[in-house]
């Protein structure tokens, strides 16, 4: 890669970094340079090696070969402590905060500055005020982290890193948990940090964010840097193609839906939890064979609970729903196993916590919920060869990589985990398919694939209910869109007539009707 001569040494320079896990070469001789005071994006599909590369820079992994230079000097980074000492800070995708501590207490954690807290705390308070002023990052130091919004919690994470003196900031998928407004706010903060001379590395797979926030972008594919671009010289389509290695259609074309019989009918459904909070309020909807109904809404407006009730995980406290001839209400509750027998498949929102067992082999995860059925089990004995063969078949059908049924489930990337779960649920040709956040934490190549599979299943006559917080996804997938707000369905729109603005208003509870 040509590296133009610069007056100042680059903030980070990586030379020939190589890293293998067992037989898999995750990073193959990567060289890159990140200029001081810029925002650099690193994009790539899940498993392309971008997180591994940044973990090497942060000292979480050690490179097998290669050199790391910070500010022009070759350094050895043995662990995060070294990285912090060299001014490198990392903001992880999952926050590392203690909910029951205040902002200030979280800030000084690990940097208390002496055996007695009071002195360190006072110094930290002053420093926090300074950082807030300098970088326009104001957070009330005395509030509990649990009471902060997700966006504010992320600001605390950034403050934590700055507090430790970081001049180079690595952000790993920072927008994964944010609303669009919070993401905009984050990018404004990053711009301010850049003005003050902080160097920022942004790891993401969202091309829109690369375009909005970065100066320069590196594209990684299969452990290698395949391109380096000035952001102003490129566009999302070109980047997507570089990432995946082939032309990618960012839009989804699908034929007109052919509606069949009503498979799921929900009437006056409500759910009140043990503290009396009304989570679902008088929900009514109909789902027909051969259509995809999308449920849009900001996280926490009852979508999670609706899916749980329909999947049989929670019993409704009022109203009823009937699915494939079985009516479920408070008196006639239903468990997930029975739902599955009725032909209801469920891809849960949180696949790591619900849809799979992290410590199980992929083959074991691939039969979760069907473990007592033949051919996996006969006469109370499980057949491991059958299970592995089934898993291998699913992996082939849904292009799950690597195709290793014996690998631990959590060793797969997010996209491949999701494909495995989806493959499992679709393998039994369900009558009703409930899908929560089909592409959360999933890369572009896999998103395209998952969307096409969902449409294929719709065309085969399945009734599909998709819950997603990604409005784009709902807009491109769903034939009909329902909007949820505060546990109620506040609007219904045909796909043709839907646009982001009206849906956005409904999602905010303004367009009820």
């Amino acid at each position: 890669m040509p590296t133009p001569p610069m007056e100042a040494p680059p903030a980070i320079e990586l030379l020939g970094i190589d890293k293998s896990f067992g037989t898999v070469r995750a990073v193959k001789g990567v060289s890159l340079r990140i200029e001081s005071g810029t925002i650099t994006g690193i994009v790539g599909e899940n498993g392309a090696g971008k997180s591994t590369l940044m973990s090497i820079l942060y000292g979480l992994y050690h490179a097998d070969a290669g050199e790391i230079c910070i500010d022009g000097k070759t350094v050895r980074i043995e662990g995060p402590r070294d990285a912090i000492a060299r001014g490198i800070g990392m903001v992880h995708q999952h926050f590392m905060l203690i909910d029951s501590f205040t902002v200030l207490e979280n800030l000084v954690l690990g940097a208390e500055g002496g055996p007695l807290l009071a002195k360190g705390m006072a110094a930290a308070r002053a420093e926090l005020a300074r950082l807030g002023r300098d970088y326009d990052l104001n957070v009330d130091p005395d509030r509990l982290v649990a009471d902060l919004s997700v966006g504010e919690q992320q600001r605390v994470e950034i403050l934590k890193v700055l507090f430790r003196g970081a001049r180079i900031l690595i952000l790993d998928e920072p927008s994964a948990v944010l609303t669009p407004q919070e993401t905009d706010r984050l990018f404004r903060i990053l711009a301010t940090l850049k003005e003050r001379g902080v160097t920022i590395v942004l790891i993401t797979h969202k091309l829109r964010e690369i375009m909005a926030a970065t100066d320069r972008v590196y594209v990684m594919r299969r452990g290698e840097i395949v391109a380096e671009r000035r952001t102003t010289d490129t566009d999302p389509e070109a980047l997507a193609e570089l990432m995946v290695g082939r032309k990618v259609r960012l839009d989804l074309d699908k034929a007109e839906a052919h509606l069949g019989e009503v498979r799921l009918k929900v009437e006056h459904l409500s759910l009140v939890d043990s503290r009396g909070v009304r989570l679902l309020d008088d929900i009514g909807l109909e789902l027909r064979a051969g259509e995809i109904v999308g449920i849009a809404g900001v996280t926490g407006n009852g979508q999670t609970e609706l899916l749980q009730v329909l999947a049989g995980i929670r019993a409704p406290t009022g109203g009823s729903f009937s699915v494939c001839g079985r009516t479920v209400d408070r008196a006639h509750s239903c468990d997930p196993a029975e739902m599955r027998e009725l032909g209801v498949a469920h891809v849960p929102e949180d696949r790591l916590r619900q849809g799979m067992v992290a410590a199980f082999r992929a083959s074991e995860t691939s039969i979760l919920g069907h473990h007592h059925e033949p051919p996996f089990s006969r006469n109370y004995i499980m057949s491991n060869p059958e299970v592995s063969a089934h898993c291998a078949q699913l992996m082939e059908l849904f292009d799950v990589r690597p195709r290793l049924p014996g690998l631990r489930s959590d060793s797969f990337s997010g996209g491949n985990q999701q494909k495995l779960v989806l493959a499992r649920e679709m393998a039994h040709e369900p009558k009703v398919l409930l899908v929560g956040q089909p592409t959360r934490g999933v890369d572009i190549g896999a998103i395209e694939f998952i969307h096409r599979e969902l449409v294929k299943s719709r065309d085969a006559g399945c009734a599909v209910l998709v819950v997603s917080v990604e409005l784009d996804e709902i807009l491109s997938l769903a034939d009909r869109i329902l909007v949820m707000f505060a546990g109620r369905i506040v609007g219904e729109v045909e796909q043709r007539r839907a646009d982001e603005r009206t849906l956005g208003l409904m999602m905010a509870g303004a367009g009820a009707g």
Partner: protein, 365 residues
């Protein structure tokens, strides 16, 4: 290839780490033995000879190991279901009660081939029932299983003292023990069986319970890794939410896991009462239930590992007894200290040698 975070290869994880832990424990013990003024190498030699030096001592080692296998399996089964059963001691005690009651009630009417299976079933049933109460309390009332199983150990102990002193005591006896079982209530000793086959070995307490123990190992292995029920149990242990998603009733599965665990612990009663004492006595579990936690921990909750760990603990128990006979300075309590150190090193400090070993292996490669 380097890096302190690189995981150990499987063989090192399964074999080398436990061996290093044991070695560290022995070195520490050696230092303590030195401090109390004895020769550690001489003591070690006595320990090994005491445990493995004759057919008789090997018999005793295996007899002790039988108990450790039962309680180790008990802890492991519950652990795979995400439940920490600390009540093996009480479940063994009550299991023995069931076993003894069955024999006392029927030994005059039934032949040995009918009575022994019945008594074994009774130990399992009573052990399971004693575990079922804490399981039910956890599943339906949310009481933490660690607390309730511990308390049930004390309840079992008090109950047994009451029963032995007031109800089951042999008429006219001054010691709190039941009447002796009839001949049909005796599980054959291994040395008797071998003599029948023409082999002469020294007499020991080793009896056919060890066959039951090995069958239990096989059964646990098949159940956990080759049946849908075991699959559901392990799912619950790793990820309860995924188990609910898969359609498993967590309450029922908690009962299943704990009852199996209690039944396995209850088999200690078979080894002790049917095999050795021939009557119900006080305090026969003698800490096996607690040691089972260490056995399971060291055996990585896998039947093969548990057998190996049980053999080690059996050898320590037997060799330690011999040691305390020979050495005036090394008392029974000292042997308990040795066991404690092994538990400490292979349990609580299990990760102590790991980083060091990882670095070493990385350099070798």
């Amino acid at each position: 290839m380097s890096g302190p975070r690189r995981p150990l290869p499987a063989w090192a994880d399964v074999a080398l780490v436990p061996l290093i832990n044991i070695a560290l424990a022995f070195v520490t013990v050696g230092i303590i033995v030195r401090i109390i003024g004895a020769d550690p190498f001489h003591a070690l030699r006595l320990l090994v000879v005491g445990a493995l030096g004759s057919s008789e001592s090997i018999g005793y080692t295996l007899y002790y190991a039988t108990n450790f296998i039962f309680t180790g399996l008990a802890v492991a089964v519950a652990f795979h279901g995400g439940l920490f059963n600390i009540g093996g001691e009480g479940q063994a005690y009550i299991g023995g009660l069931g076993c003894g009651l069955a024999v006392l009630a029927l030994d005059r009417y039934l032949p040995v081939w009918a009575l022994i299976p019945l008594a074994i079933a009774a130990s399992a049933l009573f052990g399971a029932a004693w575990a079922a109460v804490p399981a039910w309390l956890q599943a339906w009332r949310g009481s933490h299983i660690v607390i309730t199983t511990i308390m049930f150990n004390f309840v079992a102990s008090a109950l047994m003292v009451y029963l032995m002193v007031n109800v089951l005591i042999a008429p006219g006896s001054m010691t709190p023990q039941s009447r002796t079982f009839a001949a049909s209530g005796k599980l054959p000793a291994v040395h008797d069986l071998l003599r029948g086959l023409g082999f002469t070995v020294g007499p020991s307490a080793l009896n056919l319970s060890i066959v039951l123990a090995l069958l239990c190992c096989l059964g646990v292995w098949v159940f956990l890794w080759h049946t849908p029920g075991g699959y559901a149990l392990r799912t619950m242990g790793h990820n309860p939410q995924a188990a609910v998603y898969a359609g498993t009733d967590l309450r029922r599965m908690t009962m299943v896991a704990m009852c199996l665990s209690g039944a396995l612990a209850g088999f200690v009663g078979v080894n002790e009462l049917l095999g050795v004492h021939q009557r119900i006595v006080l305090d026969f579990p003698a800490g096996y239930g607690f040691a089972g936690i260490a056995v399971a921990l060291m055996g990585r909750n896998h039947p093969i590992g548990i057998v190996l760990a049980a053999l080690l603990f059996g050898a320590l128990q037997q060799g330690g007894t011999e040691l305390s006979f020979e050495f005036p300075t090394i008392t029974r309590e000292m042997v308990v200290v040795i066991q404690g150190l092994i538990i400490l090193f292979s349990g609580a400090l299990v990760h102590l040698p790991r980083p060091w070993l990882q670095a070493l292996l990385a350099r070798v490669r």
